[in-house]
């Protein structure tokens, strides 16, 4: 059986800069997989490659048995890969509810005329979408503010709303780009519990970018370390922690 996600010799250059350099690894089904590395190591670029937002320069990538190397973002989303963004990309002037409802696009079929004529199909779809969205918003404790503009939310709430939106895609693989950025240790602990919880409940495979080493160590089954676009270590938290190359990358200059 093949891995959930595999990247093979993946490379992306921007002009002269090699952002991701010949990176290969697999993520197994059901894992929580950590991706760490200093600033500018190419972590977010790697996410962008995997989700198709940035075209691959060379190398290949697969979701289960499907090659996704040349796929468009919406096609990759349709396979069951959802993500959040490092710099939070909510639909700011829409309500929290709309944000989550939009993400169920792939699981609904209503076309222009269904919507305009409000056919039974459209009505039943709308009801389901609404109910499921409210369920998700309740999970992230935002149901009471479902009708507020997303951009009016405090930072931490926006992060959680973005996770709820990603979950609305009903993905198999969830990519979280620094979900704990800007949170205090208490909030990070809560977030870890929350991630563990959705991992169980939604039967997910999760790839996580995080700077906070204790959080990653506690949460992840395996960890990959990137430095200057190169994969320098891959393994269990304890193995990675003691890897001389990793210590060099973090402590050296």
């Amino acid at each position: 059986m093949s891995a959930m996600l595999s990247v093979q010799n993946l490379t992306r250059t921007f002009g002269g800069l090699v952002a991701v350099n010949d990176v290969s690894f697999c993520v197994e089904e059901g894992e929580i997989f950590g991706l760490i590395g200093p600033n500018g190591a190419g972590k977010t670029t790697l996410f962008n490659l995997v989700t198709g937002l940035t075209p691959v320069t060379s190398g290949r990538q697969f979701y289960r048995d499907t090659e996704t190397t040349r796929m468009k973002p919406h096609q990759i989303a349709a396979l069951g890969i959802a993500r959040t963004f490092q710099n939070i990309r909510l639909f700011g002037s829409l309500s929290a509810l709309d944000n989550v409802m939009i993400a169920q696009h792939l699981h609904t079929r209503a076309g222009v005329f269904d919507g305009v004529l409000s056919t039974p199909r459209a009505r039943s779809e709308e009801r389901h979408v609404y109910d499921y969205s409210m369920t998700l918003l309740e999970k992230v404790n935002l149901a009471s503010r479902a009708h507020q503009e997303a951009r009016s939310f405090p930072y931490g709430d926006q992060r959680r709303l973005e996770i709820a939106r990603a979950l609305a895609l009903q993905p198999k693989l969830l990519l979280l780009d620094e979900p704990g950025a800007g949170m205090n240790p208490n909030e990070k602990a809560e977030l870890s519990d929350f991630i563990r919880h959705v991992h169980e409940e939604f039967d997910l495979t999760i790839v996580l970018i995080e700077h906070n080493v204790p959080m990653v160590m506690g949460l992840c089954d395996r960890i990959a370390v990137l430095n200057f676009g190169v994969l320098i270590a891959l393994g269990t938290p304890s193995a990675v922690q003691n890897d001389p190359a990793v210590i060099e990358a973090y402590l050296g200059d």
Binding site: L94, I102, H105
Partner: protein, 321 residues
């Protein structure tokens, strides 16, 4: 009343048509696409009506044109506009912002020049004596007012549907929308095609109303005027373009009427009469200053809704509790 209808019947019908034209620009804007192609499709629709009514159906200016045939023309114009919109839209909608606006303006100009050169569109002279389904301008209201209401209903419902939400997502953030599984090209082209079809249908009616159609209809000036309807009226809700289209179409005539008020000093009256487009231009510039969100904003509705809780929303709240 009779006198009012005779004087302003044409204006009132034109107001409804212009409001629809504003909606035709608003539709792609719902998906975040600033397209100024509406006048091109509007011109196309007018030529379809003029050519079909005279050459295909063989009616003359003296005959009353049967209303059902107008609907046939609308269907043909809609089909042609949809096909052209797909052909133009698929490549052009990769462009962003002002580049897309310019590319669509290029389309408008090309339609105009092609019509100037074709025998069938009457070249520089255009097509005269387009037969009319109604004898008085005002009677067109029986057609255009339901059309406008239908268009408003369409857009209103669309905004609250799955497709409308996909449009809003694209308008807010195209990349994030794509990452949520929305196919950007597909929905941008869909919004563009809907706008094109609406503009084409408006052209059909207007060709009959004007009794003539030529290349001076549907030019760059129209594109800019329609853009002003949307921006001044408000681009965040469908009521904005409608209000903008109605008000800005009426404004020059209101100024003209104001010039006729008894007791105005002669130079003032003359300025209102001859200089009304100066005032029009200044009002557009001033309007952007005082109504940066447009005359009608979604916030107004939110405030209104907060003050008058709707039964439906209340029920939903109860169900949650």
């Amino acid at each position: 009343m009779e006198g009012f209808i005779t004087t302003y019947g044409f204006l009132m019908v034109t107001m409804t048509l212009q409001a629809m034209l504003a909606l035709s620009l608003y539709l792609p804007l719902m998906a975040g696409q600033l397209s100024l192609a509406s006048p091109g499709f509007y011109a196309l629709g007018g030529f379809v009506a003029a050519v079909m009514s005279k050459s295909v159906f063989g009616f003359t200016n003296q005959q009353v044109f049967p209303l059902p045939l107008v609907f046939v023309e609308m269907a043909v114009a809609a089909a042609i506009c949809a096909v052209v919109a797909i052909l133009i839209g698929v490549p052009a909608l990769r462009l962003r912002g002002i580049y897309l606006a310019l590319a669509t303006i290029a389309f408008v100009e090309v339609v105009r020049v092609v019509a100037l050169n074709l025998e069938i569109t009457g070249q520089a002279i255009g097509i005269f004596g387009v037969p009319q389904p109604f004898s008085r301008s005002f009677d067109y209201m029986a057609l255009t007012l339901p059309m406008l209401l239908l268009a408003i209903f369409f857009v209103y419902r669309l905004e609250r549907s799955r497709v409308g939400r996909a449009f809003s997502a694209l308008r807010e953030d195209e990349l994030a929308a794509a990452a949520m599984g929305i196919n950007p090209t597909r929905y941008k082209v869909l919004a563009f095609v809907m706008g094109a079809v609406l503009a084409g249908i408006v052209g059909v009616v207007n060709a009959h109303l004007l009794n003539t159609w030529n290349t001076r209809q549907g030019t760059f000036d129209v594109a800019i005027l329609v853009l002003a309807y949307v921006i001044i009226g408000g681009s965040r809700t469908f009521l904005g373009p409608v209000a903008g289209g109605l008000l800005l179409t009426a404004l020059p005539e209101v100024l003209r009427a104001a010039a006729g008020i008894q007791g105005l000093p002669a130079p003032v009256a003359q300025f209102l009469q001859d200089g009304r487009l100066i005032i029009f231009g200044v009002l557009i510039a001033v309007g952007t200053l005082f109504f940066p969100q447009g005359l009608i904003t979604p916030r107004m509705f939110r405030r209104w809704r907060a003050a008058h809780p709707q039964p439906a929303a209340a029920r939903r709240k109860e169900a949650q509790a």
